[in-house]
Symmetry: C2
Subunit: 192 residues, 2 copies
């Protein structure tokens, strides 16, 4: 295989994960995947052995687990409004990168629970970071003193809800408007 062009495996995986995302694992056939990738069905089997193999490879390839800590801490300016906005943006970037994985994880949550752990890795990290951030802010007297974990839960949940409810037709400007609007309310609600 030539190095410059997109390999056959990549083509297959990128089509496969979209199909899994939109139709669910069980509803997608190997024929469909092959057709979408414009290769023969045999080629798919030669590359990934089984249908589950395709899913696993796709998930390995398209789940970006990031070490958020450094990225996050470097951008904090200790202003509630600004930091929440930055946080929400980081969250939505991460989620939209992992969009397919997140949806598949929900669809297959009982059939393949192992996907869930991958999908929840980044959000889990972010929640911890946000909780600690709220603790620090409270200590600095820049926030109302209350259950920081609960506050973090609420903010995470708000953004998760938006992510889950937004259909593909929603533009990034809508996301920006949502962030702007919700962060404003939240920052007002949390400040001392």
């Amino acid at each position: 295989m030539k190095q410059e062009e997109l390999g056959t495996s990549d083509k297959i995986l990128s089509e496969a994960i979209e199909l899994f995302h939109h139709k669910g694992f069980k509803s997608v056939t190997m024929k469909e995947i092959a057709a979408a990738a414009a290769v023969s069905e045999m080629t798919v089997f030669r590359h990934f052995e089984t249908k589950l193999g395709v899913l696993e490879a796709a998930i390995r390839k398209y789940s970006y687990i990031q070490p958020m800590k450094k990225l996050f801490e470097e951008q904090i300016v200790w202003d509630l409004y600004e930091d929440l906005k930055m946080f929400a943006k980081t969250y939505h970037e991460s989620m939209s990168r992992n969009k397919a994985i997140s949806f598949i994880a929900i669809q297959e949550r009982n059939n393949m629970p192992w996907i869930t752990e991958l999908a929840e890795h980044n959000p889990g990290q972010l929640k911890e970071l946000l909780t600690r951030y709220f603790q620090d802010m409270q200590a600095q007297g820049k926030m109302v003193a209350a259950d920081s974990a609960g506050q973090a839960t609420a903010f995470m949940t708000l953004n998760f809800g938006y992510f889950m409810s937004c259909n593909p037709s929603i533009k990034s400007t809508d996301t920006d408007a949502f962030i702007e609007n919700s962060v404003q309310t939240f920052a007002r609600g949390l400040r001392p």
Copy 2:
């Protein structure tokens, strides 16, 4: 069929919708449904003809579309905190009644989009009511004057996110505590 006991159809439908909810429509077999309902496979076919027939009947039976308007308006006391709490509770009651439908709607959103409309009927109503409530509160000077539809979206989204998160790293508190906590923040963020 005797009137007092739970009919065969009901037993089948209640097991079927749980199976669809947990495993997804495509992954559930008629044998499974029959076994779960403790009847023979033939009985399922005799009652509902096809597998899709089972789903449709189950959805018809277990989707409670409620006229929220009256229920909602009767309980308003024009205090932001109290009203938001009442609203969130109404929302979660409605969603938990329709939990299976809501999850199936998301799982099958591309295969059977018609389910989505049913699942979104109550939330859609609630959003309208909340938007109008915010407008009224703004007019009364009891709320910060801002985009009421956006505020309603944020609050709805927050509660939807909680409902959807089967995510142990996000959902750490029980529903009442979540409502208490999030409504407190929101009410503070929205008051003038």
